[in-house]
Symmetry: C2
Subunit: 228 residues, 2 copies
């Protein structure tokens, strides 16, 4: 959780000393850059598990991660994908309520959660940044609830592709760093429905499918009317 933070411009000297706190810089990312330990996770490997002590927080450097929760019978819901620059691993208690795994080979920066919280104790702006981050994530998650509760397969797929295109900030080509199963678990669908929906969008010339992991958003009109 807690990903997709607002992209602030980074001040090299992060203002975590109580004395000088006039600039609204992103202290969190600065702290990660300066103090984060680099770690590599191969795809499908677990970064942390449900109910494990929430000892560390993370920032994606490359690759992608999924934040998910499992039901006892194997049903899974992915609440968010972490892409490069996203921060995740903040939970409210002392235990993770979700698990995190790499969906493809990924490099992340790791920090002790207590370090961040110690900084936040002394730096009001960092504390506020953490709050804004959580609030932003909350809003994003609530939007996703609307998707899961009230839209059909095509609308979910289109929203997902749009979101990925925006986050990739590559105009129309999306390289998916996750499997169909991951997409299905994110959208509350089955892998078959995901596949069929993509095929249908391709037949409608709304998208192109050069390969299974690459999607080209073709007709914005077709996508728009598909959303309706």
């Amino acid at each position: 959780m807690l990903m997709q933070m607002a992209r602030h411009s980074a001040d090299p000297r992060f203002s975590s000393a109580p004395g000088r706190a006039d600039k609204p810089v992103s202290g969190l990312k600065e702290i990660f850059r300066l103090m984060g330990a680099r770690m590599k996770f191969e795809r499908h490997n677990e970064i942390y598990g449900e109910n494990e002590p929430a000892e560390y927080v993370y920032q994606v450097v490359s690759g992608a991660v999924r934040i998910s929760k499992l039901l006892s019978d194997g049903r899974r819901q992915i609440s968010a994908f972490g892409l490069p620059a996203d921060v995740f691993g903040f939970d409210c208690g002392n235990e993770h309520r979700f698990s995190a795994e790499a969906t493809v080979d990924a490099v992340v920066l790791v920090m002790k959660r207590s370090t961040i919280e110690a900084f936040a104790e002394r730096d009001i702006h960092l504390a506020q940044e953490l709050w804004k981050l959580a609030t932003y994530e909350l809003g994003r998650t609530q939007e996703h609830m609307l998707l899961l509760g009230r839209t059909n397969a095509r609308e979910r797929m289109v929203a997902f592709l749009r979101g990925m295109a925006r986050r990739n900030h590559s105009a129309n080509v999306v390289d998916l760093p996750m499997s169909r199963q991951d997409i299905a678990d994110y959208l509350g669908l089955t892998i078959e429905t995901v596949s069929r929906t993509l095929s249908a969008l391709a037949r409608a010339a709304a998208i192109g499918l050069p390969s299974s992991r690459r999607i080209v958003l073709r007709s914005h009109e077709a996508l728009l009317e598909a959303t309706t």
Copy 2:
């Protein structure tokens, strides 16, 4: 909105001064108690709307509110119900991304958002409390995503009833402060499915339905196996 506000005089000594923070009191709720303006909303009345400036924050005193979002074609998703003591209205930007309405006649305390944020600027513990609050809400919302994405109607209904029973902290009797339509929009179902599911649970002796707004949780075993 925000008329007829009876302003309370601010008590000079509420414990948000950094000096005395040994008690695990809720600074936020203290601030609401001391400085909140009491307002009454009749059922179905809007407290704030989507895209309105997020100028105020609220705490429920009595009654209930729904936090919801509308799609252009009328589909609605309720992301949360606010029950007495719940705080709502914090959004990440300057505009509300959701709307809030009273589901039954409700009394709320209102405060300027800027007031809270000004306090948080100076009180690190309040800032942390706001962060914890947002993070807690985030976790709750993510759990709800699992419900919306991966469970059937009966499981959603049972989870909802359990949650309401817990929040009412009345052992087994739940008085619902919302309509079937509100429940449906919260659970991502139709009003008919909600009604049918409740009837089925009653037939299975898992619940009793003395009236449409009152539900008795009877057989914990029946509810449990219903969850499976």
